[in-house]
């Protein structure tokens, strides 16, 4: 996971765990500093004088009077690397999160930064927002007492657009989410330009709860559907929200149900990543050979993410991996393992990518529990696609750009999906022509 991707996963979690704090400030600082020194994939520490960082920040850690102050020092240290996947998961509340640790409820809609405004990009079918009549394409003018302008002003305007998008989303989620059952007032602007004030209830997140080790609980969702392309071909759409092992069985069933489709669209928009090892299993549904999607370069070695062709159905029958056209949809909130998958499949020519450039935060990472109880997420590998493209800091660049527009959202159109379906049509026609 990347830092932003880790943060996104954190926001997707129901609630942060609360445990007693052990001060151990200097010990905690030393462990975090040493772990990164010893495991960073680049012995040159991305050009940062790591010893100087220690000399500068260790006294501040020593002087930290509260867990929050210590975390600020640690985050400062992690930030010096200027790379993704270096993050801290607090074991308990600190000043920065006090009162906002319970993010288990949400009103049932998502947002994106579209044409400089916060816009509703998706409305959950059964959520409070849908019941209240919220529609995609509506502008979010305020959340609680905070105006949209103030939310965006809180985001560092000096960030690259790629990261600004992520940070804006996080800022919105920090206000939208809250305790299950609580209510939050919004002001929207609808498609006709009318001001729409609504108070929405935050409800439990849909999906199967999954708790993996020190990570907070996540809710895993996978949907699939069969749809028609513009020219009447049969296509399948599969979307899931996070790379957790619980996805595997549902994904297998979804593919089984779409084996006769003319093409499959895999929607990874908003998917921040998860367990990178799953790349090998999921890619195997679309590859007949053990092809490497990319390589994780660590300090000691290089590990290949090699597809494991999936030759058995959920029912135990022998099958062939899906060989038809595969389109992958991505956006600015597609991160980490999702990027490695999309970039890897693109690099071997197995998929065509549609949408918007991804997060560019694609460093495989692991965890380390620190003496104060917090969990350090730290990158120990660098992912490079099969064609040698490094995704960190760049992201996956779609073959066909299809940015969100408010006009399309209001009209109920999905430009990225439409382009993907058109491409499937062309592929089907090409296949017919070649016969």
């Amino acid at each position: 996971m990347t830092r932003a991707a880790a943060a996104v996963l954190g926001l997707l979690a129901a609630s942060a765990s609360l445990r007693a704090q052990t001060p151990a400030a200097v010990e905690t600082f030393d462990v975090a500093w040493t772990v990164i020194r010893d495991s960073h994939f680049d012995p040159g520490m991305n050009g940062v004088d790591w010893n100087a960082v220690r000399a500068e920040l260790r006294p501040r850690a020593e002087a930290a009077g509260t867990p929050g102050e210590l975390r600020a020092v640690l985050r400062d240290m992690l930030g010096r690397l200027g790379q993704s996947h270096f993050a801290l998961l607090p074991a308990g509340a600190d000043a920065a999160t006090a009162g906002r640790t319970d993010l288990s409820g949400q009103p049932g809609f998502d947002t994106r930064l579209v044409e400089g405004q916060l816009v509703v990009s998706r409305v959950a079918r059964d959520g409070a927002a849908a019941e209240a009549g919220v529609r995609q394409g509506w502008i979010v003018e305020s959340i609680g007492t905070t105006a949209a302008g103030a939310i965006l002003a809180s985001v560092d305007s000096g960030l690259p657009p790629r990261l600004y998008t992520v940070e804006a989303w996080k800022a919105v989620q920090g206000l939208v989410r809250g305790p299950d059952g609580s209510r939050v007032p919004f002001v929207f602007r609808d498609g006709a330009g009318r001001r729409v004030p609504l108070e929405l209830e935050r409800r439990p997140e849909a999906g199967a709860p999954v708790k993996v080790g020190n990570l907070p609980t996540m809710f895993v969702r996978l949907e699939s559907e069969a749809i028609r392309t513009p020219r009447g071909a049969n296509a399948g759409v599969i979307r899931f929200n996070v790379w957790m092992a619980a996805v595997d069985a549902a994904f297998q069933k979804a593919v089984d149900g779409l084996r006769s489709a003319d093409g499959i669209v895999l929607d990874l928009r908003g998917n921040p990543g998860g367990l990178a090892a799953m790349l090998m299993g999921i890619s195997g549904h679309f590859l007949t050979e053990r092809v490497a999607l990319g390589v994780m370069k660590t300090r000691e070695n290089e590990l290949r993410f090699t597809a494991n062709p999936r030759l058995v159905s959920a029912a135990g029958d022998r099958v062939h991996p899906f060989a038809g056209p595969l389109a992958i949809l991505v956006d600015g909130l597609t991160g980490s393992a999702s990027e490695c998958f999309a970039g890897g499949m693109q690099s071997i020519g197995r998929a065509r990518i549609f949408g918007e450039t991804t997060m560019g935060q694609a460093l495989p990472a692991v965890f380390r529990k620190l003496p104060n109880g917090d969990v350090l997420i730290h990158a120990y590998g660098d992912f490079v696609t099969a064609t040698g493209v490094r995704l960190e800091g760049q992201g996956v660049i779609p073959d066909e750009q299809a940015p969100l527009s408010r006009e399309n959202l209001l009209a109920g159109r999905d430009a990225a999906l439409e382009r993907a379906l058109q491409w499937i049509d062309r592929a089907v026609q090409k296949r017919k022509d070649s016969r």
Partner: protein, 254 residues
């Protein structure tokens, strides 16, 4: 009796970390003990060749944890002569993992990569590592066995033995200079992601019947760490049917 060894799969590679590798070498003594004597001394220390050879199967149960990740799950290991093994792990939040070899077929099934039929080098390695009485016949298994130094391994003086596998590749075994018990291994194996070098430290030997067995094996791969802890160890009670490949693997064999 097969001494359990764990080569981390993809889940571990993505989820764990922390190394406890050998410390810098100490000054070598004037002469080093013969490697075969060290291996024989270990067999004697755990109960003797006859007692080891008398066992035809083992079942071990306990936990597998990845402490840095905060993961802990149930672990079951089955082994039987001549070369059958099965390891089942249930990791909360991730799922069920199974790796096995029935003397002919090697496999792994897990929710990260799906069912896999081992082939080529991976299958050969599995066969090699599955040898139930591996510790009793080093000369049959390795082309050369040499004691190379006395070093500090896991914080204690240990003899380091280099074993060259047929066809190349090396394993390193470490024997506690004081007790004679095996302290750990370092080896490289081909996994689904490529070659992986792992360091295993074997500690907390306890007596089960007439044999001593390490009840804690800590395996490190780079910054990742996996700890296997055994609470139960039984001999000669394994049902051979347990080594049957699961249905999804049988479908791959067709």
């Amino acid at each position: 009796m097969r001494l359990f060894r764990y080569w981390p799969g993809p889940a571990a590679l993505v989820l764990v970390l922390t190394a406890a590798g050998p410390a810098p070498a100490q000054a070598p003594p004037a002469s080093l003990p013969d490697a075969r004597d060290l291996m024989a001394r270990h067999v004697e220390a755990i109960g003797g060749r006859e007692a080891v050879f008398a066992q035809s199967s083992t079942y071990a149960a306990g936990t597998m944890s990845m402490p840095d990740v905060g993961l802990s799950g149930k672990l079951e290991l089955y082994a039987a002569k001549p070369n059958k093994v099965l390891m089942r792990t249930i990791m909360p939040g991730i799922g069920d993992f199974e790796e096995g070899f029935n003397g002919t077929v090697g496999w792994s099934v897990n929710p990260l990569t799906g069912p896999t039929l081992l082939q080529g080098v991976q299958l050969e390695q599995k066969k090699f590592d599955a040898d139930f009485h591996a510790g009793l016949k080093p000369d049959e298994r390795y082309e050369s066995i040499t004691t190379i130094e006395l070093i500090t391994f896991d914080g204690r003086p240990c003899y380091k033995v280099r074993l060259v596998r047929p066809g190349g590749g090396e394993d390193f075994f470490f024997y506690d200079a004081k007790t004679g018990l095996k302290a750990g291994t370092v080896g490289t194996r081909e996994g689904p992601m490529g070659p992986i070098t792992a360091t295993s430290v074997e500690t907390d030997y306890k007596r089960f019947g007439s044999l001593l067995h390490p009840t804690k094996i800590t395996t490190s791969v780079g910054p990742q760490r996996i700890v296997m802890t055994f609470e139960t160890l039984q001999f000669d009670k394994v049902d051979p049917a347990v080594f049957e490949p699961p249905a999804h693997i049988k479908a791959l064999i067709k």
